[in-house]
């Protein structure tokens, strides 16, 4: 298997060509994420992360290689993996196949669930618990959660992809999917042990998207183990490097919950094969009732930002007093015009505690500069703008103990000083949907690319 990532990272062509020379049986890749926050899912923008160009480059390499080797390309795509993002990915595939002069028959699987589907489940009394006890999540999914969300996606498991691979296609493109699902599908279809395959998929999805490496990896599956090595000639896998990626982004290193089972890693073994290759064995799969993770986002208002730079030592020393004044001014808003219920705001003070907030251990900043981001969110964009402006102006002109800067306290670095940051979203759904049939809610279409006649 050649495992990679198509969500926008770039890898060296040298490593790619080396990997192809090994003649893998499949190219698999993750291409959806919600790491970048709720906007990706809530927004109806087609491209929400790095835009078309990084994905286009990945597609040129992946599709041309799959076609040349006659092997399936299996990947998730579309940023958050909502249907609009998936369509954006398909348009890139149209362009790339047309340009390369190749034709490909691809199964396309939507990861977005119609609200009507979920409302019907609720009506039938299906209980969908939250994944984690958090006060911002309903303990059990409610009609209001569904209706109030812009849209809902589900992390499909490998099963819909396995079914699609049997449809006589050149590859499978999914919307939102479990990070591991594209890597798992073909091995499971070929009958490999679920524990070995799931452990492999966890390791390769992490090796692509984070952790130590971000380059394609070559994996050889065996009945009781798998072997992994980087395609890049200058990189190596070591037992520790491979073991360490198993921890990435997961709460518990010994047990990882997946649709239909828990991957138990307490008996996992990581052994060197040679200087660059590691053999991995010992993982066990314990079957559990089948569930998929639902993700939803809801509209939270329009956002305006302003950036102020503080340099005066007295201002920085008195930053707490300044912030109290600015927060009071923003809370007061425009009495008679705007009510406090119409907006929310926050002052992020970089150089003080913007990154860690209440968990910040450093109580007094030693910085000679502070960056203050005035962040306002309101249902009405005009209100967000006015409140942001009020905050920026108060930072500029407010009094504080020992003030000498009567022509302005801070620097503004943008013109206009109020930046329209577009729509803001928050997560609304992080629940589990039980499924009798893992494929049931995921719609599959077989399409010939390029979908339009090549220009």
């Amino acid at each position: 298997m050649l495992a990679t990532n198509v969500s926008g990272y770039s890898w060296p062509v040298e490593a790619w060509q080396r990997a192809l020379a090994w003649r893998p049986d499949v190219i698999s890749a993750q291409g959806t994420t919600l790491d970048d926050g709720a906007y990706l899912l809530g927004s109806d923008k087609m491209y929400t992360r790095g835009g078309k160009l990084p994905f286009r480059r990945a597609m040129e390499l992946v599709l041309s290689a799959a076609k040349a080797l006659g092997i399936p390309a299996v990947f998730s795509a579309g940023d958050s993996g909502h249907d609009i993002g998936l369509e954006g990915a398909l348009r890139v595939i149209d362009e790339v196949t047309a340009e390369l002069g190749i034709r490909m028959r691809l199964a396309v699987i939507s990861g977005e669930l119609p609200k009507s589907y979920l409302l019907d489940r609720l009506e039938r009394g299906v209980s969908m618990p939250r994944l984690i006890d958090h006060p911002r999540l309903s303990p059990w999914l409610t009609t209001e959660d569904v209706v109030g969300s812009t849209r809902v996606v589900a992390q499909m498991g490998p099963e819909p992809i396995m079914r699609a691979l049997e449809m006589g296609v050149d590859g499978v493109v999914t919307g939102r999917a479990l990070d591991e699902a594209p890597h798992l599908a073909l091995p499971l279809l070929r009958g490999f042990d679920r524990g070995v395959a799931a452990h492999m998929a966890k390791i390769v999805e992490t090796a692509q998207s984070g952790g130590t490496w971000r380059t394609p990896h070559l994996v050889t599956l065996h009945r009781d183990r798998f072997e992994i090595q980087p395609a890049h000639p200058a990189q190596r896998c070591t037992p520790t490097s491979v073991a360490s990626v198993a921890l990435y982004e997961r709460q518990n290193p010994y047990a990882i919950a997946y649709p239909g089972g828990v991957l138990e890693l307490d008996a996992a073994r990581y052994e060197p094969v040679d200087d660059v290759t590691v053999a991995v064995s010992g993982a066990r799969w314990r079957a559990t009732p089948y569930t998929v993770k639902l993700e939803g986002a809801r509209f939270a208002g329009h956002r305006c930002l302003g950036i102020a730079g503080a340099r005066d030592p007295r201002f920085i020393r008195e930053i707490d007093a300044v912030l109290r004044t600015v927060e009071q001014a923003m809370a007061d808003g425009y009495p008679g015009y705007v009510s406090g219920r119409d907006y929310r705001f926050k002052l992020h003070v970089f150089g003080r505690n913007a990154v860690m907030e209440d968990s910040e251990p450093v109580q007094t900043t030693a910085s000679h500069e502070l960056g203050i981001v005035v962040d306002a969110v309101a249902w009405d964009e005009a209100v967000a703008r006015a409140i942001c402006y009020r905050g920026l102006h108060t930072l500029l002109m407010c009094d504080y103990p020992g003030r000498r800067t009567t022509s302005g306290n801070v620097a503004w670095g943008t013109s206009p000083e109020v930046i329209e940051a577009g729509e803001a979203y928050e997560f609304s759904i992080h629940h589990l949907l039980p499924l009798d049939d893992p494929c049931e809610p995921f719609r599959v279409e077989v399409l010939d690319f390029p979908r339009r006649a090549a220009a």
Partner: protein, 106 residues
Amino acid sequence: MRTRETIDTLAVVVRSKNAGPYVTTCDVFFADRATFERARAAQVLTPERVAELYRIPVESVLGVYYYEPGLAIKVSFLKTVDAGDVFCADIAGSAQHVPLLDVEVP
């Protein structure tokens, strides 16, 4: 006199990341088994210690794991500002590891 040794001076990787939008998970990797065993024997991180370091209730600490195959300690806890909050300033949770650095490893 022996210099004070901490996670900062001994670990080769110290990182944080979301484990979903509501949980931060931090990983501390040591270069060799001896150092890992030393940290584990001293139980340098416990739920109580993590709660203190991050100023969160101990019930918010979901787990402290000494993970032998990776020579690593993993710490997972509920976020005070989750990645779905409109004002969250660390959406991927990638910069939350720093309070662990100054933890002494005897």
